[in-house]
């Protein structure tokens, strides 16, 4: 029987390999309910599966970059139109100190704006949910504010706050704020009604209801909001740098464009993507640490799978 099931698994489950559903037949039936495996099993098979993914990703990248390089050389594309990857890499290496400084500035603006958005967003969401009377005032105001294109008000912010980092942080904050409020409010309101009944039958205070039921229920949605918000925050910071200033990767792209230094612009864009991926991965990592009880959806980055 054991051999038989082994053959069946080898034959039928081969295609599902990367998801590693594992040897659940060996588990105590009681723990295998709903097809959920104990963490130990998930971890046991994880390295090979994640290695598999990394390998696939690396191969794809090598093929893509390789063909790009080959096409550029073969067709002799001028570097100011499309630089070859080698040229981009060379520029990145030559001016590494410059890039480091500008990248750091953009990370700083993005992170500051994002954190402000998280702080104010969660507080606003809490107000909307906990004080229904304020909902009718706060929600339409936020919606109107959201409908104003941030790109359009960026020049105004520069007039008001000058050319330093502050207006960039403000723009990053403004674009990142909305998804956190919306997700936060919907999360805080998503408590199971039976839990609220249980709370009131025990005469729980509003404070207890909020912290023991609403906040934990909201965390998964707040994290979804934060993942959207962080990618928006980068866009916000870049918009700010485009409009005015003398630092940051956005500024670097504008300068590169003016000088037709396309390799420089490509390098800056590459760094921007890396910053975005790293920040996103950090949030997935925090999600894993803070809410391990949330049924893990397939994480998109390594950050979510590190643990």
């Amino acid at each position: 029987m054991v051999i038989g099931s082994g053959i069946a698994r080898g034959g039928l489950e081969k295609r599902r390999w990367p998801r590693c559903t594992g040897p659940n037949h060996a588990l105590d039936a009681a723990t295998a309910y709903r097809g959920l495996l104990p963490d130990a099993y998930g971890c046991f098979l994880m390295p090979s599966a994640s290695l598999h993914r990394v390998l696939k990703l690396t191969l794809t990248l090598i093929v893509l970059v390789g063909s790009w390089e080959a096409l550029c050389r073969l067709l002799q594309v001028p570097a100011f139109l499309i630089p070859a990857p080698s040229q981009v890499a060379l520029r990145l290496y030559d001016k590494r100190d410059l890039y480091f400084m500008h990248t750091w500035i953009t990370i700083y603006e993005t992170t500051a704006g994002f954190l402000l958005a998280v702080a104010f967003g969660i507080v606003s969401a809490a107000i909307i949910v906990v004080i229904p009377k304020l909902r009718d005032v706060v929600m339409p105001t936020l919606l109107v504010a959201q409908l104003v294109p941030k790109v359009a008000i960026a020049p105004l912010l520069l007039i008001w706050f000058g050319y330093g980092l502050f207006p960039k942080i403000i723009i990053a904050f403004l674009v990142a704020f909305f998804p956190i409020v919306v997700n936060g409010a919907s999360g805080l309101a998503s408590v199971q009604p039976e839990l609220l009944d249980l709370g009131s039958s025990l005469q729980a205070s509003r404070w207890q209801t909020f912290w023991k039921f609403r906040v934990p229920s909201a965390l998964p949605e707040i994290f979804s909001g934060m993942k959207i918000a962080v990618t928006l925050a980068i866009i916000g910071a870049i918009i700010g740098e485009f409009v005015g200033g003398n630092r940051g990767l956005g500024y670097l792209i504008i300068v590169a464009n003016q000088e037709l230094d396309t390799a420089l612009a490509f390098a800056a864009i590459l760094l921007l993507s890396v910053v975005g991926i790293v920040l996103y991965a950090l949030i997935e990592m925090f999600e894993r640490i803070l809410i391990p009880w949330n049924a893990p959806s397939e994480p998109l980055t390594a950050g979510g799978r590190m643990l």
């Binding site: 009681a30 723990t31 309910y33 709903r34 959920l36 104990p38 199971q192 039976e194 839990l195 009944d197 249980l198 709370g199 009131s200 039958s201 025990l202 005469q203 729980a204 207890q208 023991k212 039921f213 934990p216 965390l219 809410i291 009880w293 949330n294 049924a295």
Partner: protein, 257 residues
């Protein structure tokens, strides 16, 4: 000397739901009482207002008219001497089984060490002592509902209100949990009110069954189950059991014969 007050007294209970243009009657003058330590079931067709009765006793829904008293005191709002079990387990998925059972003690600010000991004891009572540190998603539906029962007993309430606690479970699990609930009740002797639409479940567990008709709910009959206690699971296939099933089935109008 006065006789001791009933655990739950319901007299001429009325409830109407007001919509924009009319009033929909849900409960039309119900009267019954539950003595301390008694197990009573509310049985009736779906949507007849059984759950409304339970919520009014729990103080979660306001009544329109009549008298509802718990331990001789009129119900005006939620009260802590009641333990609640819902149709869904309603566990906090961010807490382990043990932490879920500890919730009432936390809200009521009871002594931590003592509540922990009690929570372990209750998990043992519902047969889940090995699963204390498991999260709800690692437990089956039946196990989750057992945790919910343990949680309902955590603050040692005098009264247990169960709102169709097993109706979301499959038949085998449901039968199993009926046996478990009977055992738990025998050990703790909490005054219990069970809302159900399963006739065998009501008979197996109850001392008396309040049979309700379709909405607006009126009491068709209060059936006393004279099957002796302690009850063995095998009683459910005995002739005397079947006779009660038959009698209640005719009451609620099941045309199965």
């Amino acid at each position: 000397m006065r006789a001791p007050a009933p655990a739950i007294k319901i007299a001429d209970l009325r409830k109407t739901y007001a919509t924009a243009d009319c009033e929909i009657p849900a409960l039309d003058g119900l009267s019954f009482r539950i003595e301390p330590g008694e197990f009573v079931s509310l049985l009736g067709p779906s949507g007849c207002g059984k759950t409304t009765v339970l919520r009014i006793v729990a103080g979660l829904t306001a009544k329109t008219g009549g008298i509802v008293e718990v331990d001789g005191v009129p119900v005006t709002g939620p009260q802590r001497k009641i333990g609640l079990v819902f149709q869904v387990p309603a566990l906090m998925k961010w807490r382990t089984a043990l932490e879920n059972v500890l919730l009432p003690a936390e809200i009521l600010g009871l002594d931590r060490a003592a509540s922990r000991g009690r929570a372990h004891e209750l998990l043992d009572l519902v047969g889940l002592s090995e699963f204390a540190s498991r999260y709800p998603r690692e437990l089956s539906g039946g196990m989750q509902q057992r945790v919910a029962i343990a949680r309902a007993l955590a603050h040692d309430p005098a009264i247990l209100l169960l709102d169709e606690p097993f109706s979301a479970l499959d038949m085998m699990t449901r039968n199993q949990l009926n046996i478990e609930l009977l055992r738990i009740w025998s050990e703790r002797r909490k005054t219990s009110l069970l809302v159900t639409h399963s006739i065998p479940e009501a008979i197996f567990l109850s001392d008396r069954i309040v049979v309700l008709g379709p909405r607006p709910a009126r009491i068709l009959e209060v059936v006393t189950v004279s099957l002796p206690r302690p009850r063995d699971p095998s009683i459910r296939v005995s002739l005397s059991f079947m006779q009660v099933v038959d009698r209640i089935g005719r009451l609620v109008g099941l045309e199965y014969i």
